[in-house]
């Protein structure tokens, strides 16, 4: 039965996956670099404006190293990234590292709180819906998740504002300017962004979890358990769920990658001082070094989540675990 080549040990597969992630990261950063440095044309001209003299532009080009070949600039930028030197902002001449630092932590806090909030709720709803497949509960959950998935994140946000801030008046609509001096204030400040993000992420997570569990419930070995006289709960808990754990963990990690897109909209709407807001502002001022760095940070987090999902999928395969 066991005819897999010896090279397919889990460790080998994981190492291979990590290698692919690393190569992907290089390609992605090249794409980001290409888009921000080469597409816009002459950066020096843009910075100085149309009125600048050709001499001034030439001088700035020299100073910025723009006359070097693109591949050299890419490599030195990459080397800078790797050593933590993200360059200098065009707009306010501050090191990008300094601009990003605090903002990144705020965004991570937002994502962390959302994750803590979402995972237990989404898992229980998703598994519950799969177990009660076809019931009223399942259909209600399905309709709700498909509705949330089908509307833009900003609509979920505006709806949340209308309900919690305008109608009920429980929470402030914006986080900006809230003094974080007490637990309740902090809770209130985080509440709206977290609620919005949670809706977006958990809808994905519920759908994927439900699908993963249903797939294992439909296997012959679960039918076999039924024919052994197992109760419905035993079939699900002893036979379906242990085999669905890998796919579920995979679904969780993949759904969390939706945080990356969601956070961009949510931070903008609620004026939340995170890295996404910083980036959207940088786009409007065309502050390219800042955009590059933010984009790479987003890609890194996105990639690590999907790679993590893959690694879990590999580890959870019983054929690979017990050789």
């Amino acid at each position: 039965m066991c005819t897999l080549p010896t090279s397919f040990t889990p460790y080998f597969l994981i190492a291979q996956r990590l290698g692919i992630a690393l190569i992907t990261l290089v390609i992605v950063s090249f794409a980001v670099f290409f888009a921000t440095e080469l597409l816009p044309g002459d950066v020096a001209q843009i910075l100085l404006g149309q009125a600048a003299t050709p001499e001034a532009v030439a001088g700035l080009r020299e100073a910025m190293g723009l006359n070097e070949p693109a591949i050299y600039r890419f490599l030195s930028w990459l080397a800078g990234l790797a050593s933590g030197d993200l360059g200098i902002s065009y707009v306010n001449n501050m090191p990008v590292t300094q601009l990003i630092g605090g903002r990144l932590i705020s965004s991570l806090k937002l994502a962390g709180v959302t994750t803590l909030f979402t995972v237990p709720i989404a898992l229980s709803l998703g598994i519950g819906a799969a177990m009660a497949r076809g019931s009223l509960f399942d259909r209600v959950v399905s309709v709700l998740t498909i509705s949330v998935i089908s509307v833009p994140e900003f609509m979920v946000a505006t709806l949340a504002v209308v309900i919690f801030a305008v109608w009920l008046g429980w929470l402030p609509a914006l986080s900006y300017g809230v003094e974080v001096d007490s637990w309740s204030a902090m809770l209130r400040g985080y509440a709206m962004p977290v609620i919005t993000l949670s809706f977006v992420v958990s809808a994905q997570m519920i759908r994927m979890t439900r699908a993963a569990v249903i797939e294992t419930i439909n296997t012959p070995y679960v039918e076999m358990a039924l024919l052994k006289g197992a109760s419905r709960s035993r079939m699900v808990l002893k036979h379906a769920l242990p085999n669905a754990l890998g796919p579920i963990a995979n679904a969780v990690a993949l759904s969390l990658s939706y945080l990356v897109g969601g956070v961009i909209i949510v931070e903008t709407i609620f004026n939340y001082p995170g890295i996404a807001k910083l980036m959207v502002d940088a786009v409007s001022t065309r502050d390219l070094p800042l955009i590059q760095s933010c984009a790479v940070i987003f890609c890194v987090s996105y990639l690590s989540l999907i790679t993590f999902a893959d690694v879990i999928a590999i580890l959870s395969n019983p054929r690979l675990r017990h050789r």
Binding site: I20, T24, P40, I146, S150, E153, G261, A282, A295, L303
Partner: protein, 285 residues
């Protein structure tokens, strides 16, 4: 026996496997409604789209202005009708480009295989490693926003996904014996792709096109909402929400109806696709 085979031969929608339940029909009706509005929009707007027609801004729904007025006092119904053109049109153009490109490349990769497949798959997988909205942000930051740039960006975002999907389907079909028979007969790659593979992945590809259309509408609306999509004075639905976001606390119809328009389009596409007969939707993955 003869009777049964005969009744199965009659080309009624049910026999062809194309019958929908009522949810699917509602979805289809809404999709057709917005498609028609997008097509004939300029001729049915009650007021000129850009014209300030009312002194009152964020006006309520009334006999004169069915969906109220916006932050400048323009007619919302007219603007939503025109917005349909941008939202539906741009998304359709984007999804068509993405799926055409993705499906063609995917089928070639599946049939040709070898290093061509490996390199293309790795490369496009890498591009899948960029979150979609972020990609849009970076491109718009680099080259500014215009209609062609938006279409190309949206297409570029969803091409890798369409490729991956079509390739997976085509790889499955490619392992089927009828393709092997055709190959052993000496058929060319082009024949294999067009006659043997394409007809057998068409159904799932069309269903996938619908889902991708929804994602494109969402990303486009998101970009416009951030002010990076369709630029004023033109506006798609996302931009309409952005313009009128101030009216949110007033509960103004000007901000509610564009949102409803987006939701009605995306939800109806999802409803339609989800209720397609399994024969079409079935993914041989």
């Amino acid at each position: 026996m003869t009777k049964r085979t005969l009744s199965r031969r009659l080309p009624t929608p049910r026999n062809l496997g194309y019958s929908f339940n009522w949810v699917g029909r509602i979805g289809l009706t809404l999709i057709l409604f917005w498609a028609i509005v997008a097509l004939i929009g300029p001729w049915i707007t009650p007021y000129p789209v850009g014209k300030v027609v009312d002194w009152d801004f964020f006006g309520p729904m009334s006999q004169k202005f069915w969906l109220g007025t916006d932050y400048l006092g323009r007619d919302v119904l007219s603007r939503v009708f025109m917005g349909a053109r941008y939202t539906v049109g741009l998304a359709l153009a984007g999804v068509t480009l993405a799926c055409t490109g993705g499906v063609i490349l995917g089928m070639i990769a599946a049939v040709v295989g070898g290093w061509f497949d490996t390199i293309l798959s790795r490369l496009l997988d890498a591009f899948n490693g960029i979150p979609s909205l972020l990609f849009g942000l970076v491109v718009v930051a680099a080259v500014g926003s215009s209609i062609p740039v938006l279409i190309l960006t949206l297409a570029a975002i969803y091409l890798p996904g369409a490729y991956r999907f079509a390739r997976a389907l085509a790889v499955n079909v490619n392992t089927m014996d009828f393709v092997t028979v055709a190959r052993a007969r000496g058929e060319t790659t082009l024949y294999l792709i067009l006659r043997e593979i394409f007809p057998n992945i068409l159904g799932p590809v069309l269903a996938d096109l619908g889902l991708r259309f929804v994602f494109i509408v969402l990303v486009l609306s998101g970009l416009s909402f951030l002010g990076l999509g369709v630029q004023p004075p033109n506006a798609d639905w996302g931009a309409l929400v952005r313009e009128n976001i101030e009216g949110l606390s007033l509960g103004a119809p000007a901000v509610i109806f564009p949102s409803i328009a987006i939701a009605s389009l995306t939800i109806s596409v999802n409803m339609f696709i989800d209720n397609l007969p399994t024969r079409i939707r079935d993914r041989s993955e």
